[in-house]
């Protein structure tokens, strides 16, 4: 099952990147490509909408860390929205929840971004 990634522009100009499927070793490159495209084309204020992500592994998490580095290097900001229970557990287990602020909904993540 490959990862499908859709991107859209929110009303405040931020980019919402929405992957659907498993964000794992097979799906991570698709997210990296989408983030690279979003950073290239516009303001580096990005929300990754995790609602459609059914499962994340450490490689998928690595692609989110790579995105964070890329976005911060351009003085931008990255937020995660709507992670499911499995994603939250992985973030907490790796203590990356201290690095990635995550929000219950995309709307909450976009507020003030």
């Amino acid at each position: 099952m490959s990862l499908d990634v859709q991107s859209r522009q929110a009303d405040n100009g931020a980019t919402v990147v929405a992957p659907t499927g498993r964000l794992d070793v097979a799906g991570a490159p698709a997210l990296k490509d989408a983030i690279a495209e979003a950073v290239k084309n516009g303001p580096a204020r990005i929300v990754i909408d995790m609602e459609g992500v059914s499962f994340v592994d450490s490689t998928g998490l690595g692609s989110v860390i790579a995105a964070l580095k890329q976005i911060r290097s351009s003085q931008g900001e990255l937020r995660l929205a709507a992670p499911n229970q499995q994603v939250r557990v992985v973030l907490e287990l790796t203590t990356l929840d201290r690095v990635f602020p995550y929000f219950a909904t995309v709307e909450e993540a976009l507020a003030g971004l």
Binding site: M1, S2, R22, D24, V25, A26, F55, D57, S58, T59, L61, G62, S63, I65, A66, K69, Q85, Q86, V89, V90, L93, T94, T95, L96, R98, V99
Partner: protein, 139 residues
């Protein structure tokens, strides 16, 4: 209501990364259905997370170029304990077993540390020319 005497077995050979990962996750779904567990059953979700880590390592590194031997995968559930075994023909991986969780800035290297903390037991042995992984968790 679940029975304490329920049992489940699954076996597959895996020779492709994407399809192999699909099979691993499908096997967990079949176990979930066979044992009547909820979609958000936390112990099984933790086991699936560990299986995803070891499985992706094995499917990525356990099939060296030229090797025709597929990864052998077995899953069984007996008396409340789930156990998975993965056997591959890749290089030995002893030096990685004690790896600690890397710092926040690192993009890789978390898989084995995650799996260790999610399981009751993570076993590894080099047996002849193959790696044998054993993942155990009481559900």
């Amino acid at each position: 209501m679940r029975s304490k005497h329920e049992a489940f077995e699954f076996h597959a050979t895996l020779d492709d990364l994407d399809e192999g990962l699909d099979v691993l996750h499908r096997s967990i779904e079949r176990l979930r259905q066979a044992t009547g567990r909820a979609a958000d059953d936390r112990p099984l979700m933790l086991f699936e997370t560990a299986l995803g880590e070891i499985g992706s390592n094995v499917l990525t590194h356990g099939r060296p170029a030229g090797a025709e031997r597929p990864v052998d995968y077995r899953l069984r559930f007996v008396r409340g304990v789930v156990e998975a075994s993965l056997t591959d023909a890749g290089a030995p991986v002893h030096e990685h077993l004690a790896r600690e969780m890397p710092g926040h800035e690192h993009e890789s290297g978390r898989g084995l540390a995650m799996a260790r903390s999610l399981l009751d037991e993570l076993g590894y042995e080099r047996d002849g020319g193959v790696n044998r992984w054993r993942l155990v968790k009481r559900l």
